[in-house]
C-alpha cells in the first residue's frame, strides 16, 4: 500500500426509518427501513469543521478510496484524489462518501430485501430522485454528528447531488465543487439513458425485474447499456487515439460478425466486467433519477435556484465532454452571476471526454486544492 493511500477501509452501514417514520420520497412513496452504505477517511476535528462529502456518479459507490483487503487489485473509485497529501487531504479533512439510494452497493435499492417478504424489491422499489439521495445523505451526516460541511464535491451525477445540496440546504456547507455536471440533462443525454434502459428491459431474463433468484440474469441487456454509456463517456478524439481502426489480435478481416475491431472488443470487455458489479434494476433507477433532475423546474428557474446558494461555488467542465458539455456548466455560471454569487469556473482543455473528471487528476488537484485552502 503506497504511503499516500488511506490504507485498508471498511464500508459501514447506517439504518433509519420505520413504519411510523418512513423516508418520504419526492414521488409521494415512502421507504423504510433505509440502509445507507458509507465510508469515511481521515478524522473529524473537535470543532467538526473539516468534513467533506463526496458524491459518486452513476455507477460509483461508497468505496471512494483505499482498499477493502490487501488482495484487492483496485482501490476505491476516486483514490487518485482522496488520501494523505492528496487533493482531498485526509490529514486535514474528514471525508464521507455514501452509496446513493436506488444503488446496488449496500444502500437500499431494488436488490435489497423488501421487509416482511424475504424477497428483493425489484421494480416495486420506489422511484428515487437526486433530491431523495441528498436527503438520505443529510440523514447520514446528522447520524455522524456533522452539522456543517467544509465542502461537497462530485462529478457527473455526483455533481447533480452537489448542486441539489447547495440549493436545497444552502447553509449546510461553506463551498461546493461541481465537476463535469449539469443542472439538467439534455434531451440527447436522456435519449442515451433511455436506450440503456430499453436494452435491459428487453432482455428476456429481466423478467419484469424479478430475476434475483433466477438462474439467468439480464446480463446481456445490462452489458449493452454499459457499452452505450461508455461511448458517451469518451470523445471521438480519445476513442480514435485509443483504438483507431485497429483489429483485435489479428491482421486481416474475417468477414463475419465477431468482435474484430479493438473498440468492439473494448466495449464488450467493459460490458462483461460491469455486469459482475452492477445490478440491472439499479441501472434503471439511477439513470431515471438523473433524467428527472432539473433544478430550474424544481425551483421555478435556474436563477431562482442559484439565488438560494450561500456557499462558494467552483464549477469545472471539460472541453471535449459532449455528454455534460461545458455550455451546461456555463449556464449555471450565468445564473450564479446574475444573482451576484461568488463563482469560480474553469473549462479544462482535455481530449478525454466526460471521463476526464476521473482522469485529469493533476489539473483538478491544482484547482481544487487551492479552492479548498481559500475557504474560511
Amino acid at each position: 500500500m503506497s504511503h499516500s493511500s488511506v490504507g485498508l477501509v471498511k464500508t459501514q452501514f447506517f439504518t433509519f426509518g420505520d413504519a411510523k417514520n418512513p423516508l418520504k420520497l419526492r414521488s409521494g412513496a415512502t421507504l423504510e427501513p433505509v440502509i445507507v452504505a458509507y465510508e469515511t477517511y481521515g478524522k473529524l476535528n473537535p470543532k467538526k469543521s473539516n468534513a467533506i462529502l463526496i458524491c459518486h456518479a452513476l455507477t460509483g459507490d461508497a468505496h471512494a478510496a483505499g482498499k477493502h483487503s490487501s488482495k484487492d487489485k483496485k482501490s476505491g473509485w476516486w483514490d487518485s484524489m482522496i488520501g494523505p497529501g492528496k487533493t482531498f487531504d485526509t490529514n486535514k479533512y474528514y471525508i464521507v462518501c455514501s452509496n446513493v439510494i436506488g444503488g446496488c452497493s449496500g444502500s437500499s435499492g431494488p436488490n435489497s430485501i423488501k421487509p416482511n417478504t424475504k424477497k428483493e424489491y425489484g421494480v416495486s422499489f420506489p422511484v428515487v430522485t437526486i433530491a431523495d439521495m441528498v436527503d438520505v445523505q443529510k440523514r447520514l451526516l446528522e447520524f455522524l454528528d456533522i452539522e456543517h460541511l467544509h465542502s461537497i464535491a462530485g462529478g457527473s451525477m455526483g455533481g447533480m447531488q452537489v448542486l441539489e445540496w447547495a440549493v436545497r440546504y444552502p447553509d449546510f456547507m461553506d463551498s461546493v465543487i461541481v465537476i463535469a455536471s449539469t443542472s439538467k440533462l439534455s434531451s440527447q443525454s436522456i435519449a442515451f439513458d433511455a436506450v440503456g434502459r430499453n436494452a435491459i428491459i428487453s432482455d428476456p431474463h429481466w423478467n419484469n425485474g424479478n430475476y434475483y433468484k433466477m438462474k439467468k440474469q439480464p446480463n446481456h441487456g445490462l452489458a449493452i447499456a454499459r457499452m452505450i454509456g461508455h461511448i458517451t463517456y469518451l470523445s471521438n478524439l480519445s476513442m480514435n487515439k485509443k483504438f483507431g481502426r485497429r483489429l483485435q489480435n489479428k491482421k486481416t478481416l474475417s468477414y463475419d460478425f465477431s468482435n474484430e475491431f479493438q473498440v468492439e472488443s473494448y466495449l464488450h470487455h467493459q460490458g462483461s466486467v460491469f455486469v459482475e458489479r452492477f445490478d440491472a434494476n439499479s441501472y434503471l433507477y439511477v439513470t431515471k433519477a438523473m433524467d428527472y433532475f432539473d433544478l430550474s423546474e424544481e425551483y421555478g428557474s435556474l436563477k431562482k435556484a442559484m439565488k438560494r446558494v450561500l456557499s462558494k461555488v467552483l464549477i469545472i467542465s471539460f472541453s471535449s465532454d459532449w455528454l455534460f458539455p461545458p455550455e451546461q456548466s456555463e449556464e449555471i455560471i450565468k445564473a450564479c452571476l446574475s444573482v451576484n454569487k461568488t463563482v469560480f469556473y474553469t473549462k479544462i482543455e482535455s481530449s478525454y471526454g466526460h471521463d476526464a473528471f476521473l482522469l485529469e487528476t493533476k489539473r483538478l488537484t491544482k484547482l481544487i486544492k487551492n479552492f479548498l485552502n481559500g475557504i474560511q
Partner: protein, 202 residues
C-alpha cells in the same frame, strides 16, 4: 488621488484612483487576480475576474478572487447588462481579435469602462518605423511582428476618434510617459505618451 507606488505600475494606481469604494468591478483578462485582490483590500470592492489561461485561473483561486474562464472575443455572454459599476480592460485591447465587440460588451455590462493600452503613436515608435522601416519593438510592445500577441495596435488619437464615432463618452483620460518614470503628461499625448488610460461611459 493617484498614489505613488513603483512607477512601472502607475497605470494600476490610476485605475485604482478611478474606482469608488464599495463598488463592483469586473476585470477582463484579470491574470493572477493580484490587482483585484489589491482593489478588494483598498477599495472594498465586489469583484469578478475573467481569464482564459488555466494556470492563471489557479492563481486567482489561490488569491480567493472569483474568476471564470472565458474568451473575451466571444463577448461577455455570462454577464447581464449593467451588472457592474466598472469593467476593466488593462493592456489587453490591442490583443483581442474583436476589439469592437469587447468595447461594446464592456459598456453593456458595466456602467463605466476603464481601458488602458500602449500608445502606438509614441514618437519613438514613429521614429523607429520611419528610420528603420521595420515593425517597432519597444519596452511596452516587446514582440517581433511574427510572434506578437498585439494584433490591433492603436494610437490615442485612434481611440478618441473611435469613441467619438460610437458616441462613447470619455469621462477622464490619463497619459503616461515611460521616459519620465511614467509620470502623467498633458502635452501632446499622442506623440509623447507611452500609455493611456481612459474612463468611458455609454
Amino acid at each position: 488621488m493617484v498614489k505613488k507606488s513603483h512607477w512601472l505600475y502607475r497605470n494600476y494606481d490610476i485605475i485604482e484612483s478611478l474606482i469608488l469604494p464599495n463598488s463592483s468591478v469586473l476585470d477582463l483578462g484579470c491574470g493572477t487576480g493580484d490587482f483585484l485582490k489589491l482593489l478588494k483590500q483598498k477599495r472594498n470592492i465586489h469583484c469578478q475576474g475573467v481569464e482564459i489561461d488555466e494556470t492563471k485561473i489557479v492563481q486567482c483561486i489561490k488569491n480567493c478572487i472569483p474568476v471564470i474562464q472565458g474568451d473575451l472575443d466571444e463577448g461577455l455572454r455570462a454577464f447581464q447588462s449593467n451588472s457592474f459599476d466598472y469593467v476593466l480592460l488593462n493592456q489587453t485591447l490591442q490583443m483581442v481579435k474583436k476589439p469592437e465587440l469587447v468595447l461594446s460588451e464592456m459598456l453593456r455590462v458595466g456602467r463605466k469602462a476603464i481601458v488602458g493600452f500602449p500608445n502606438f503613436g509614441h514618437y519613438k515608435i514613429r521614429w523607429h518605423l520611419l528610420k528603420m522601416g521595420t515593425m517597432p519593438v519597444t519596452q511596452d510592445l516587446s514582440f517581433d511582428w511574427f510572434d506578437s500577441p498585439n494584433i490591433h495596435l492603436l494610437t490615442i488619437k485612434d481611440f478618441r476618434n473611435y469613441c467619438k464615432s460610437k458616441n462613447y463618452k470619455i469621462l477622464d483620460e490619463f497619459f503616461l510617459m515611460r521616459e519620465k518614470a511614467n509620470s502623467i503628461i498633458h502635452l501632446a499625448p499622442n506623440f509623447l505618451a507611452t500609455e493611456a488610460v481612459f474612463l468611458l461611459e455609454r
